[in-house]
Amino acid sequence: MAKEFTFILGGVPFSAAPVKLERKKLYGWSDLVATDRDGHICTAAYISPEDSLLIPAGAAKMTTVDERGLIVKKSDLIAFDADGKELEIFPSSFDSPIDLSKTATEEEFLDHEWASVYQIQNPELAGIVGNTIYTFPFSYSGGTNLQDGFLMNCPAGLFLFAGTPVDFSPVNLNEEAVIDETEEDVLEDIDELDFSMI
């Protein structure tokens, strides 16, 4: 059985298994396939420039190493912020109820970049949420990464949004920006407002 979140609204618990919203599920996906001159499918790999060692795809792994160059297990790591303060470890939102007691404005909702969006299928909860936007601390798998969670009804159903806040403070006349980087000139074909092809 899929893991479920438990939402508490007005003292009443509501459970639902989240379904992640992904482009792949809505529009499909594409795979890059390489063929040689004879039309045979090739496999991807890497070559090391120093010794021409051929390395299978997936065999070059990002690893955490300490000052001595020794590989360190993730479980032996302690996370700190930029000021050197140890980061708090948060439980997964699956492990403790999500309290829906704080509401948010549309602007507060908009000022986020979404890392993940999940469909929440619980018609009873959707009915009680109505047009209100609820916000809460959220962590899918637990750890130091705590995101802002939002629960909101949309025409397509009830969705949970997880992301990080972005500050868009208004600017005045004196706050002129300076352009210091440009892209090359390009042309592009036109297409219709079609999400499957973008």
Partner: protein, 230 residues
């Protein structure tokens, strides 16, 4: 900041700047002994120690070989630090392939193959001279837009002089008064998706405006995902 070429409802265009707002917090990790750490690429296995190679080499006696000789580990090479790796393609024989053709195999959501097409890459289209990002005239109430699309990235458009301040502030005011977002588009007809940089993801884009006294915020919101029931 980078350049952004945009036109308004009257098709007057100007070069302005856009600012990416960082949402990432810097996290560093130390060991339980207090040693600082960093990430680097290390070698996990070689072509010779991959499962397919071992099966070809040992056939039915693979299980015994794994127990007796540990052929799945190359003690000389495993754990090597890797830098500057180049991607290559290999033939069935494990040799580097030359004259490789790359095709994109496109699949429908149900897994059926839709088409095969040559590999293509995107080119940035937000700062093209004579081809500004345009207002399409398609306005959508803010409350509707945020319930129809997942805005994955947002950028703030910024003025670079007094003239562009008036230009962008007027846009922001128009949108703020309407409590709406404007669909903007790129390309010759000004209706195509926006690509922020070469090789980047194409996104549909909306402009949102806010005004506070003499200040304004004009926010470009990018989406490539609709809020649809699965």
């Amino acid at each position: 900041m980078r350049k952004f070429n945009i036109s308004n409802a009257e098709r007057r265009d100007a070069e302005v700047a856009f600012e990416a707002k960082s949402t990432k917090t810097k996290t560093c990790y130390r060991t339980t002994e207090g040693l600082e750490t960093h990430s680097e690429k290390r070698l996990r296995s070689t072509m010779e120690t991959e499962a397919a190679s071992l099966e070809a080499r040992y056939s039915d006696s693979l299980a015994e070989a794994l127990v007796a000789e540990d052929p799945e580990i190359d003690l000389e090479k495993v754990g090597l630090k890797l830098e500057g790796l180049k991607k290559v393609y290999l033939t069935d024989e494990g040799k580097v392939a030359y004259g490789v053709t790359l095709n994109e195999h496109v699949f429908n959501p149900d897994g059926t193959e839709k088409e095969i097409r040559p590999e293509s890459s995107t080119t940035g289209n937000i700062a093209v001279d004579g081809m500004p990002v345009r207002w399409t005239g398609k306005m959508m109430p803010k409350a509707d837009a945020m319930r129809r699309f997942v805005f994955k990235k947002s950028y703030q458009l910024r003025h670079v002089n007094g003239l562009t301040f008036d230009f962008l502030q007027a846009m922001a005011k128009k949108l703020a008064d309407a409590k709406a977002m404007m669909l903007v588009g790129a390309g010759a007809k000004g209706i195509g998706p926006l690509v922020m940089h070469t090789g980047g993801t194409p996104y549909r884009a909306f402009l949102e405006g806010r005004v506070q006294g003499d200040s304004y915020a004009l926010i470009l919101r990018l989406t490539n995902l609709e809020l649809k029931s699965l």
